[in-house]
Every structure is written in C-alpha cells, then in structure tokens.
Symmetry: C2
C-alpha cells in the first residue's frame, strides 16, 4: 500500500492533506540528504504540488515544470514512491521530469524558460486534435528572466489557446533573482491585489492576454486549493497567470536561512576533490586587481562558478544578468568591442544557449572574450540535460576560436593568466572537481602548445585532453607496462588549433585520443581528420558514445559510455605494432 | 568631392538636408536595383539616418543597427560613397555593418535582437572606462519580438547605464509582425501621446527603466531632428526609448505597396533556377490535406520558405511565432509530444539560435519533429552572418537526429514524403536554388539509404551530399575521364547515420568527400572517423575552410573557400592508385 497516491488524495480531508504535506516534506528531505539533489526548491513547493494533484486530474491534465528540478513531490504522488530511494542514481529515478519514466511527466525539462512554450504547444495540440484537458506551466521567478518566456507570452494571443502559468516566486534562481521583471514582481507583491484588478491594463501580463491573479501564499494549502479550483473553471475560456510566493526551503530552518547553499546539495558522499571553479575565481580576482579591463559576467550562478569574491571586490566590473545566457554573450562581445577584457563564466550545458552568439557576436568579430566553461564533461547525477559533453564539438567547428582544456587546477590557473594577454576569442573548459594534480615543470604556459607528459618507445602515443582523459591515459599506461608496451602520453591541452608541431614530432604509427566529450566533432575527430589521408598513421578515438547520457555517478557513467580503461588497453594490445 | 558626407551635413540647412534625403534615396534605390539587397527597409529609414548623423557625432557616438540590413544610408554618409557601387559584391562593401570596413560601424550584426544587449555593453564599457559618448540601438518591431530584447531590457536597471533605443516600427519583419507586443505597439500608436506620459506606469517600457517617448513620424525629418536633439540631452541622466513609425519602401510607390516582396530583392542577375522552398511547401501542403497531424511552424519568414499556400489552406495548423527561433523549436517539440507531426521551416543560419532546444527539447526526448532547413550552404551576398555552412556540423554531433541532404528538388520531395512516416527527429537541409535535376530511377526513398549514382572502376569513390557537391563530383569525374580515371559517385544523402552498408560495399582505397559545409565536424569528418584506424582506406575531405565566409556570389565563394574542381582533380591525380 503506497504512502503517497494521487488518486487517493482526491478523497482526503484538509487535515489529511496537511499531514500528507508533512510526510512528503520529510521524505524529500531525508532522501535528498542521502542521495544529494535539489533541496530547498523542492521543500518550498510541497503544498502547491499537493493542491495541484488534488484539484487537477493528471496525467490527463498536463503539468510542465520549468527546469524541472522541483518535481520530487510530484514524483512521490504519481506512483514512483517505491523507487524514490533510487533518486538520481544510475538506473533509478531521475531528478528531473522524464517522459520515459511516467506518463505523469509529459515533457522533459532541464534548462530554464521552456515551460511556457511547451505548455502552449500542448494546448495548441489539444485544440487541433479536439481533446479536452488542462495545461499548466509551473515556473520560478529566476526562469522568468529568460527571453524564451517573453517569446512564449508574446505568442499567446496569436496561438489563441488557454493555459495556466503558475509563477512560483521565491526571489531566487541559484543566485538571488535580478532585473526589472523581478522588481516588478516585488512591486505586485506589495500592491493591494484588488487595486491591481481594477487597473487591469497596468499589469504587464494582462497585456499579453493573460488574466492575472495574485499574489498568494503558495505555502498555504487551503488557499492554493481554493485558487486552483477557481482557476480551473476560468481556464475554459481564458489563460491565467497565478502569481504565488513560496518560501525556498520551507519547513527546514537551515534551508530557509541558507536557500542559496541548499539549492543543490551533495548528499552523503564526501568529496575530497578540489574545485576548478574556486581556482578560476581566485585567479581572475587576482588578475583583476591590477588589470582594470577585466570584467566578469555570469548568468545567475555566481557562487557556483567561484566568482563570489570577484563580485564583492569589483562590483563595478561584475555583471550577473540572470538566466540569460544569450544576452550575457552579447554583453561580453560588446564590452570587448569597446576595449574591455570580459570573462563569461558559465556551465557547459547552459552555454549551448549561446551557440549562435558565440559564432556571430564573438568569433566572427574576433573579439577577445574568454569563455570559462565549468561543469564540462559528464557532470553526473543531474542526467541528460546537464551533461557537459557537447562543448568541444560545438566549439571546435567555430572559426577563430581557440579552445583550451587544462589537465588540472594548476594548469587552469596558468591558462587564465595567459588568457589576459590573449587578443582573440578563447574558451577554457574544465569539470567541477579536480581529483589529480599532475607534476609539471612548466613555469609559463604558451597558448596553443601541447605538453609531452611521458615519452614512450615511439610505438603508441596517447593524446588526451583534460584531467579525466589524462588520468585514464596514465592508468592505461600502467596496465600496458605489464605487456611491455611503453606509451607516450601527450597533454593535448589545446583542442583548437591542434599543436601540429608536437603532433608531427611523435612519429608513431598508432595514435589514441581520449577526451571527456561526445565522440562526434570533438578533439579526436580533429586528429582523425588530420591523418585521414595518411596511410602511415592509424588513429583511434575514445570519447563518449553518440548517445544522451543519463544520471549516475561521474565515474560509472564515464566508464559505461566510452572512457573505459579495459577497452583502451584491449584496443592497444590488439593493434599496436610491436 | 563626395556627394554625401557626415561632417558636411552638420552645417546644412533644413532644405539642404531634405535634398540630401532625396539624393540618398535615389542612390540606394538605383544601387539595390542593380546589385540586389534590402530595399524597402533602407528606403524607410533615410530621414532617421540623416537626422542621426546631423544630431549625433559618429564615430565617437555609437550606432548599433539591429540585424543591420538597414545601414545603407549610414554607409553613404560615413565615407563609403566611393565604394557603394560594390555593395554586396566580393571584395566590395558589405550589406551589413562591419567593424573591419569603417570605424562608423562599431558592432557587426546580422541576426535579430542583439542590438539592445550590444548597446548596453558599449554603454557599460564607457562607464567603466570613464569615457563620454552616446550609444544608440536602432531596432525594428520585427526584432522586438525576440527574447533577447526582453533579456536586455530586464538588465537595464541592474547595469545602471544610459542608452537610447530607437524602435523603428513599420509593422513588418519579412512577414508582417505578429504577437501581443506588436498589438501593444499599435495601441501606443493610436493613443494620445500626452495621455501616455501621464499614465507613466502603464507603459511597459517605463517599467524596465526607460523613459518612453513616442509615437512620432520617422519619415518627418524636422520632427526627427527635434526629437533627437531633445533626447540627446536627456541621455545624460536616463535611458530613453524613442518609438517612431516609418513607411517601409518610403518614396518608391511599388515598394510602399509591396513591402514584403521588396524586403530583399535579387538585382539585375536573372536566375533560371528552381526553388527548393517552393517544392518543400508544395509537397507539405499536399501531404497536410490528408495527414491531419501535420503542422507547419515558421519564425517570421513564411513566404520565403514556400509556405504561403500552406498558411492559407490550413490556418489552424500553421503557426508563425515571429522572430523567435527558440520558442518555435520548443513549440514543435511539445506539439509532437502531444501526438502531432510538426515541421519547423527555417533558414540554416537562424537555426543556430535553436541549438540548445534541438538537443534538449527535440532530440533528448526523441520527438518526431522535422527541421526543414532552407538557405543551407553558402547563401551568397549577405555574407558572414548569413552563410548556412555550419548546420551539418552542429547537427551531426546531436544524438538521435537523422540528417538528410537532398541532391535536387525531386529528392527533396521524396524526403518530405518519407518524413511523414518517420517517428524520430529528422533534419532536411537544402539550399535556395536548384540548378540541376539529376536522373534517378528510384520511386520511393528509404530513410538512411545512399544511392550510387555512377559506378567507376573501383579505384576512387566520391561521396557527395547535396546538389552543389554532387554537381561538382560530376564535373570532377568528367575532367578525370581524360586521364583514364573512372570515378564512383555516391549520393550520400543521409549524413547521419552513415549508410555503412553502401560504404563497406565500395571497396575503394581512396574516398573523396564533398559537402557544402564547414570542414570541421560535418559529413566528411564522419567518414574520416569511420576509417580512422583502417590503414587500407584513405579519406580526403573537401568542404569549406574553417573561416568566416564573406559576401559574394555563391559560385565564386564556393570555389574560393574549398569546393574547387581543379583542387579535387589535382588531388585525385596525385593520390589515386592506378
């Protein structure tokens, strides 16, 4: 007998529903403390989730979570209680909505701002197919800064369909929410609700065709049930935006007091790794003290990028634009066009949003913007939508861009120092954690140069970029020693352009490439292309399979999806000419 | 002695300025009629451009054109008159702003919605560096639909700097402007200006921190000079949005009456080519008559994509979202998630904006959306920002996506027909013009299959995708016959996945790939990777160099940047084992 059941709760009394909220809160809290995951946002939304399941009829009605990290209570209420202990573990429940997991998850999300567009698509499809159900987008005020939301709002009237947008306003994305829309929402929260209704056209959302209803306490279960019941009727004839305030971390005082630190937490496992973000932030802050051209730009995740100190010390040269990766990119390009030296720090997966602007605004103008790409490679438990495994491929194909991949935190520091004098577009990509620091005698890094870490007997050379790949190369090398194979290991720290001088100096017949990236179009692909019509040299690429990589630990996923020591050892043993 | 000079006009009388407008109008018109280019938008903005140059001090002040296609009068007024006859020709003036061309062009544009972000970057850089100049973004109401504009507006207050945004409202992008923002602008135009000023907070733009001033007649030179003079003072203490109405095609009655058809015109050269867009549109419209699941989605360029007829016949299944490529992509994904069969038609270069959404929303959910990618390959006279040479690379690296490249209009038709039954993400990419229709005996196309067009003697095989590449393969083949080399030619019409059965059946020692795309990460790159550790087969890729390709004719650019018959012939003669 399940403890939480969506069909059951339709018959619950108010007291039973409140008790359910407490039990859900406890379950979410204990699971996340153990498994890691998004804590404070999920705690804040328990009452709303229960009210939604009480009032609406899922999965017939459609609920689309923006970003999707706040879906835990929804998962518990929709038949996934028995698997909830496996949250974010390989083979277990995803921490995000997944169609393949349950029919209660109608649309997969992970990146910000997509929910209103998706809700419009579901509603429009319903109208075209002559179906009858309600469509709800649940979006936080952080996502609300994203231009996609405006694009969707702007097309509500032309699409001529009805949806409910619930604006879950807690004043935060990962960083506190910034911008005029946020100020406007705050103003609405302060204003008297009834006055707002009278001045109908003064409300921005009404201009876009929504009936606006707010502001209400989203942690007040009774109020949420009443409001949703009322709005469910309204939805037959119009689109509604329901503006609610919730308390991030609700019901767990430590979270309530530290919402930024408890947005995502790590769980039981204790990591002894060092942080690339911290080294990046520390180095940039040092440089900025004397180099007054340096500007740091982020999109709503300043602390996770190691830049809190920079923002405190140089507020006039620190810009957080909110969850607006495209705008951030253009801002950097134009700052550079006017003579400054901007650093755009961003997670690999979110940089995908800036693809066009990296091409047109930064690279086609050859502007000296530095992209500091954090959480590159497999990032682990957040799954498909958060793996940073595409960046080497989508950056590699852009003309005029130099791409650097440090082997450890010390080399990241050297790269950031070298970048300050570099006069063209540069990308530096690195993962979250540094587990190995390699020995190196180099004092100063030259942009574009590779480094031979280990000279072998000339038979087989391994070109590896990034810590995970280089660590693996050493493991493979150690294993192969037993078989009398003595590998050359090269730190291919510049993926573009290739260091062809070093490449040509190798004179081996078999080259193995290893990278923490998608197989197609990345580093290995460039090396293969370089030797493509050369009969003397065989190249074998090891990288991640051309697949979406689900959630799990970084180590198990890397092994499973392509960076396997035994596979590389086997390949070399079979193919090395001795 | 130049006819148009920005420094001269500071001393002009009003009459002289008006006369200048007429001469500029005549010069723009006669040049565009001859060279091709953007006509009606440039004619509409003559008075504003003259007023800007009269009131402001460029290049010290910064003028950023959104998209940038409306910069012709600005170019004439900023010392480029002597080169204006070379507009859009190889080595001549670009039809878009180019920093490398003149210091009067401070920022290169080409894709919509970037100007406000860029203006904020320039203004912020000015403040940081303690400089003193004005920054102006000039943006049309079509671009105003793009989410980037909202992102920039939202960060005006946090950035705490002053810019002028001129909203040039002519009711059009390439298609008529759609959406609630457009309706709102229309409402402002109807409202009494003074009433607007009193109800300060009812204006959306004021909420974002702008002082709003409008609506004025942008074709009234005196009015524009007065307004800009007044606003120039205001800019010392605040940001201003100036809302003006202009007449697209002003002063040329044919353009005024047909603004959509004269947005971009072709010039003197008469093309006898057939249109891929038309065949695509016609086929989809036929299919949609019986297949009620088919929906067509565009982003503000319905007629240029061949979809006017579809939109007329099936308005309930036709969606133009305005210049919102990201939103359009998610809309397609969610329509597909609810059981429909959406086709998103878009120019290759603008699809770059949808990169993240293609990965996350379409492909990671494996939804059966068909991307119909027009203007692929080198598109010609619009230059760097409009070449469709990256799509095969940025699509190739996305898991779960099938990529089709028809060899001619007939094959495009077959691909569209086959797509209707295809249950996964599919991209079909094609150029604007079909110059060659190849013979084919095939009745029905199987998704994933290549076609051997010509069996050679087994020595050398050319794998080519798309009309330009296949035509070139035939030319090379003809030339090589003289030397006794008998090529095999394969129509590699599916770039992903590779048709490995056909590939393996070739049994040649030398494979040549040709594609109308960037060298890195595209089709050839996949073939090279396939044979990377196979010593028996050499692969040589011919594709466009890893460079930004400027403006010029398609034919001269293709030859110059990598698809050269003589280079391929030479290579084969040197490397073929006979």
């Amino acid at each position: 007998m399940p403890e939480f059941s969506a069909t059951e709760i339709k018959n619950f009394t108010k007291d039973q529903l409140k008790n359910l909220c407490e039990r859900l809160r406890e379950k979410v809290k204990s699971t996340v403390m153990h498994n890691g995951g998004h804590l404070s946002s999920n705690l804040g939304i328990i009452e709303l989730t229960v009210a939604l399941h009480y009032v609406f009829n899922f999965p017939n009605d459609k609920l689309i979570f923006d970003v999707g990290h706040q879906c835990y209570a929804h998962k518990l209420l929709s038949g996934r209680e028995d698997k909830f202990d496996s949250l974010r573990q390989r083979g277990g429940l995803s921490g995000f909505p997944k169609r393949e997991e349950s029919e209660y998850d109608c649309y997969n999300t992970g990146h910000a701002g997509t929910s209103v567009s998706a809700a419009l698509g579901f509603a429009k499809a319903r109208d075209i197919r002559g179906e009858d159900f309600n469509v709800i987008a649940l979006i936080g005020d952080g996502s609300f800064n994203n231009g996609l939301v405006y694009e969707a709002f702007n097309s509500l009237r032309p699409l001529n369909t009805n949806i409910l947008v619930i604006l879950n306003d807690n004043g935060m994305s990962i960083s506190p929410t910034v911008g005029s829309m946020h100020e406007y929402l705050e103003q609405l929260s302060r204003d008297d609700v009834h006055r707002q209704k009278v001045e109908k056209h003064s409300n921005i959302f009404e201009r876009f065709g929504f009936s606006y209803d707010g502001v209400y306490d989203g942690n007040d279960l009774d109020c949420m049930i009443d409001k949703l019941t009322e709005i469910k009727e309204k939805l037959k004839t119009q689109s509604v935006i329901l503006h609610i305030l919730t308390k991030k971390g609700k019901g767990y005082s430590f979270c309530e007091e530290h919402p930024q630190q408890t947005h995502g937490i790590a769980g039981d496992e204790i990591s002894v790794a060092q942080s690339y973000s911290e080294v990046f932030g520390k180095t940039l802050t040092e440089l900025a003290a004397t180099n007054k051209s340096i500007v740091a730009v982020t999109a709503a995740m300043t602390p996770s990028l190691g830049l809190s100190d920079f923002f405190e010390k140089f507020p006039e040269r620190a810009i957080d634009v909110g969850i607006c990766e495209e705008h951030a990119t253009i801002l950097c390009a134009s700052l550079a066009a006017q003579g400054l030296k901007p650093y755009y720090a961003v997670y690999s997966t979110f940089l995908q949003r800036s693809f066009d602007e990296i091409i047109i605004d930064i690279c086609s103008q050859r502007l000296p913007v530095t992209l500091c790409i954090d959480r590159a490679g497999i990032s682990g438990e957040d799954g498909e939508t958060h793996q940073g495994v595409f960046d080497l491929s989508f950056l590699n194909m852009i003309p005029e861009l130099t791409i650097a991949v440090p082997k450890d935190i010390n080399e990241l520091r050297q790269m950031v120092i070298a970048s300050a004098e570099f006069k063209a577009p540069l990308a530096i990509r690195y993962p979250k954690e540094c587990n190995t620091v390699f020995e190196s005698e180099e004092k100063k890094l030259r942009i574009g140069s590779w480094e031979i870490l280990k000279h072998g007997d000339g038979g087989v050379a391994v070109l590896a970029c990034g810590e995970r790949a280089i660590s693996l190369a050493y493991q493979v090398s150690g294993e192969l020693k037993k078989y009398g194979v003595n590998l050359t290991i090269v730190n291919a720290r510049f993926v573009k352009p290739l260091d062809v001088d070093t490449l040509n100096s190798l004179k081996t017949k078999l080259i193995i490439t290893i990278e923490d990236n998608q197989l197609i179009g990345g580093f290995g692909s460039s090396v293969s292309a370089y030797y493509s019509d050369n009969k003397e040299v065989c190249v074998k690429n090891f990288a991640y399979a051309d697949k979406f990589i689900p959630h799990g630990t970084v180590i198990e996923l890397a092994e499973e999806f392509g960076l396997s020591k035994s596979a590389i050892v086997d390949y070399i043993l079979k193919n090395a000419v001795r």
